[in-house]
């Protein structure tokens, strides 16, 4: 009996120690504090609004606590968009003398993301930079944040009714139409095509797919035979791509507007049977696509620079939290190295046109 109790203690003690350890260090791998030259991050975050007169953006508040909430942790796309090292959101935030911390769930679902946002609010966030896993599900949480005076910026994927500002990576219309145009050029405007998307509920995916369907009307000999969902999971994306090829033996092209999906689809197509016979384009990261571009499986694909997207979102969050902008149309601000931006319709800032990667330029990029 005593042994049994003793072994229970053995279970309880490490938990206590582990949690206590968290309290003392209070850091995560992705958090980064402000540089030493600016206001110390340890000072009371909400009240420290003393302007740092030496910094160029002199009227911006420093010492703010900004939580960057990607759709999920552990994806290279979001790591690039968020982290200090890649020059993403946290880099922008810390260059302005505030503290940026990345937090989210380990699955790209609202149910996993909401607790992370709630915890950030509880920890006294001054601003949230969020890539929404769902356009509406996050709203009660984000609205409660805004009621508390927290600046809410969405990036990458929007929650239109519950934020002050959305940083759009590229215009939805441009991405949707240009991907169809790239594929149409490769296929001479003829043949069956399919789409490998992420989650069925993903806001950005569905908006792009809507524009793809519109653009396809320009190419009467091209037909969209199926849209399948890989849930931004490499294994699932591989399976659904294999399923497509079996179900539609005459398939000539695939569009995958998701970085996980296009890499998985490219790996499936990277065999003698399909290479050059089934064309693939979509949104991908240069690092994950270099191999497939060099061996001819993929001719061209698009993306924006996720680090720039995060950087712009981080800058905008500080501008909002400092009260310099409110997110209204027509306001403009300067986002450090990226230059000046003006807020457009629907309280949206557009990063720029999508960038097309092909064999001629892909080796210049590393992310």
């Amino acid at each position: 009996m005593n042994l049994r109790r003793a072994s229970w203690l053995a279970l309880a003690i490490p938990i206590t120690v582990a949690l206590a350890a968290c309290s003392s260090s209070s850091s995560s791998s992705s958090s980064s504090s402000a540089p030493a030259s600016s206001a110390p991050a340890s000072s009371a975050p909400a009240s420290s609004s003393a302007p740092a007169s030496s910094a160029p953006a002199s009227s911006l508040k420093t010492g703010l606590n900004v939580y960057v909430v990607p759709k999920q942790l552990g994806q290279s796309y979001f790591t690039t968009a968020d982290s200090q090292n890649s020059g993403g959101a946290i880099a922008a935030i810390s260059s302005l003398g505030s503290t940026g911390t990345e937090t989210s769930g380990t699955a790209a679902t609202p149910a996993a993301q909401i607790p992370a946002i709630q915890a950030a609010i509880a920890k006294g966030a001054n601003a949230l930079v969020v890539s929404a896993t769902d356009p509406t599900a996050l709203c009660p949480t984000l609205q409660s944040a805004m009621k508390k005076g927290i600046a809410v910026v969405t990036y990458d994927s929007d929650a239109p009714t519950c934020r002050s500002l959305f940083i759009n990576q590229a215009s939805t219309a441009q991405i949707g139409t240009s991907e169809v145009d790239i594929l149409a050029k490769e296929l001479n405007g003829t043949g069956q095509i399919a789409i490998v998307s992420a989650a069925a509920s993903a806001t950005n995916q569905n908006a792009w797919i809507g524009y793809m369907k519109q653009e396809l009307k320009k190419y009467p000999k091209m037909s969209l035979v199926a849209t399948v969902y890989g849930n931004d999971d490499a294994t699932v994306s591989t399976q659904v791509t294999q399923g497509l090829l079996q179900q539609y033996p005459n398939l000539k092209g695939i569009i995958s507007p998701t970085t996980v999906g296009i890499a998985a689809a490219a790996a499936v197509l990277d065999t003698a049977k399909y290479r050059g016979k089934v064309m693939l384009t979509g949104l991908g990261t240069p690092d994950s696509m270099k191999k497939f571009v060099s061996d001819g499986t993929v001719k061209a694909f698009e993306l924006w620079n996720p680090a720039d997207l995060g950087y712009l979102a981080g800058y905008a969050a500080i501008e909002l939290a400092s009260g310099k902008i409110t997110g209204a149309q027509g306001q403009s601000f300067t986002a450090g190295k990226l230059g000046s931006y003006t807020i457009g319709a629907d309280n949206t800032v557009l990063l720029g046109p999508p960038y097309v990667f092909d064999a001629s330029n892909i080796n210049k990029f590393n992310f």
């Binding site: 009996m1 042994l3 049994r4 109790r5 072994s7 229970w8 203690l9 053995a10 279970l11 309880a12 003690i13 938990i15 206590t16 582990a18 949690l19 206590a20 968290c22 309290s23 209070s26 850091s27 995560s28 791998s29 992705s30 958090s31 942790l73 552990g74 911390t101 937090t103 989210s104 769930g105 380990t106 699955a107 679902t109 609202p110 149910a111 909401i114 607790p115 992370a116 709630q118 915890a119 509880a122 920890k123 769902d134 356009p135 509406t136 599900a137 709203c139 009660p140 409660s144 998307s197 989650a199 069925a200 509920s201 569905n206 849209t227 969902y229 849930n231």
Partner: protein, 341 residues
């Protein structure tokens, strides 16, 4: 009877250990973050764990009866999808609720009948229906999202129960009420004792005149009903019906039930244990969020906790017999004798 009392006493010791873990989590959590023991945080924890907690209760009874139900999260997803589709089609909300409840009952009945009448292993059956019910949810909604629910309902994701200072969510209240009901049924009724008996030995229970098949079918139907209720709560809380609602939650539900000391082989476990396990599970997850713990590693903590919950009781037994194992065995001549002749 005596045997049952002994078993309950054995379980009580497990609950003591769990209570210690909960206290450890509370102390560690509140010392790690000033936001841990606050009403607002209680609301957040209740909101993000309510449906999982509710689904553990019927599963507890099923596991004690010697079976398993892995389709719980898929029934949640199917109920959510159905709720979305019917509401979008303009059904009045009461009719939607009744339909969702009936479909939940039917989903449970399919599980129960396949397990009891066809005698199929419940692990295989419910892995099958896990995929099947999720598939139905996908067909019902496709890639669409329904997010046009009336605010009166979606407010349960925003406001607490009146009279609690807004700190207790509706899902928490429902969990507490259901826990009391399930606790009374399991621990204070003939039906409850029958569930333990059939978990210990289905055959013996059958010979003792217990209607094993009927009770198990009813348990699966209750599970279906409760999971569809969880699906409704989940949908309103997120104001979103989408085919992948609750995807993968069955692992959390099963983990909590095992952590509660419910024997996966049946016949053992208590509702108090499950309530404590819910508190421990939700508390640890929340504390990790509040302390900026690397979320990618939070799976390690819950996984380790689950392994420990399986290992600890066996470790105690193992340690007790360890001296005998280490001590060199004296081999008597009689033992060797027959081999040599």
């Amino acid at each position: 009877m005596n045997n049952l009392a002994e078993r309950l006493r054995g379980a009580a010791r497990w609950e003591t250990g769990l209570a210690l873990v909960v206290i450890a989590v509370l102390i560690a959590g509140s010392s790690a973050s000033p936001h841990f023991l606050t009403g607002g945080n209680l609301f957040n924890v209740g909101l993000s764990n309510g449906e999982i907690a509710i689904m553990t209760l019927p599963l507890t009874l099923i596991v004690i009866s010697g079976e398993i139900d892995l389709s719980v999260a898929s029934i949640l997803g199917m109920a959510s999808a159905l709720l979305g589709v019917l509401w979008k089609d303009g059904w009045p909300m009461p009719a939607v609720f009744i339909t969702v409840a009936i479909v939940g009952l039917a989903a449970g009945a399919v599980n129960g009948l396949l397990v009891t009448r066809l005698g199929l292993p419940s692990l295989a059956v419910t892995i099958g229906t896990l995929a099947l019910y999720r598939g139905i949810a996908t067909i019902l909604l496709g890639p669409n999202t329904v997010a046009s629910f009336p605010t009166a309902y979606t407010n349960l994701g925003v406001n607490g129960v009146p009279g609690t200072g807004g700190d207790v969510t509706y899902s928490t209240l429902i969990f507490v009420v259901l826990a009391v009901i399930f606790g009374v049924v399991l621990h204070a009724t003939t039906a409850g004792r029958s569930i333990y008996a059939m978990g210990a030995s289905a055959e013996a229970a059958q010979f003792a005149g217990i209607r094993v098949k009927r009770i198990k079918t009813v348990l699966y139907m209750v599970s279906g009903l409760v999971c569809s209720l969880a699906g409704v709560l989940y949908t309103f809380r997120l104001n979103t019906a989408v085919q992948n609602n609750g995807l993968g939650l069955e692992l959390d539900v099963v983990a909590i039930v095992l952590l509660a000391g419910v024997s996966i082989f049946g016949g053992k476990g208590t509702v108090i244990g499950v309530v404590l396990a819910v508190l421990a599970f939700a508390g640890i997850q929340n504390a990790l969020f509040l302390t900026n713990f690397n979320q990618e590693a939070s799976g390690i903590v819950t996984g380790a906790l689950l392994l420990a919950s399986v290992f600890v009781p066996n470790a105690a037994r193992w340690l007790r017999y360890l001296p005998q194992k280490i001590r060199p065995r004296k081999i008597s001549p009689q033992e060797i004798g027959p081999q040599e002749t």
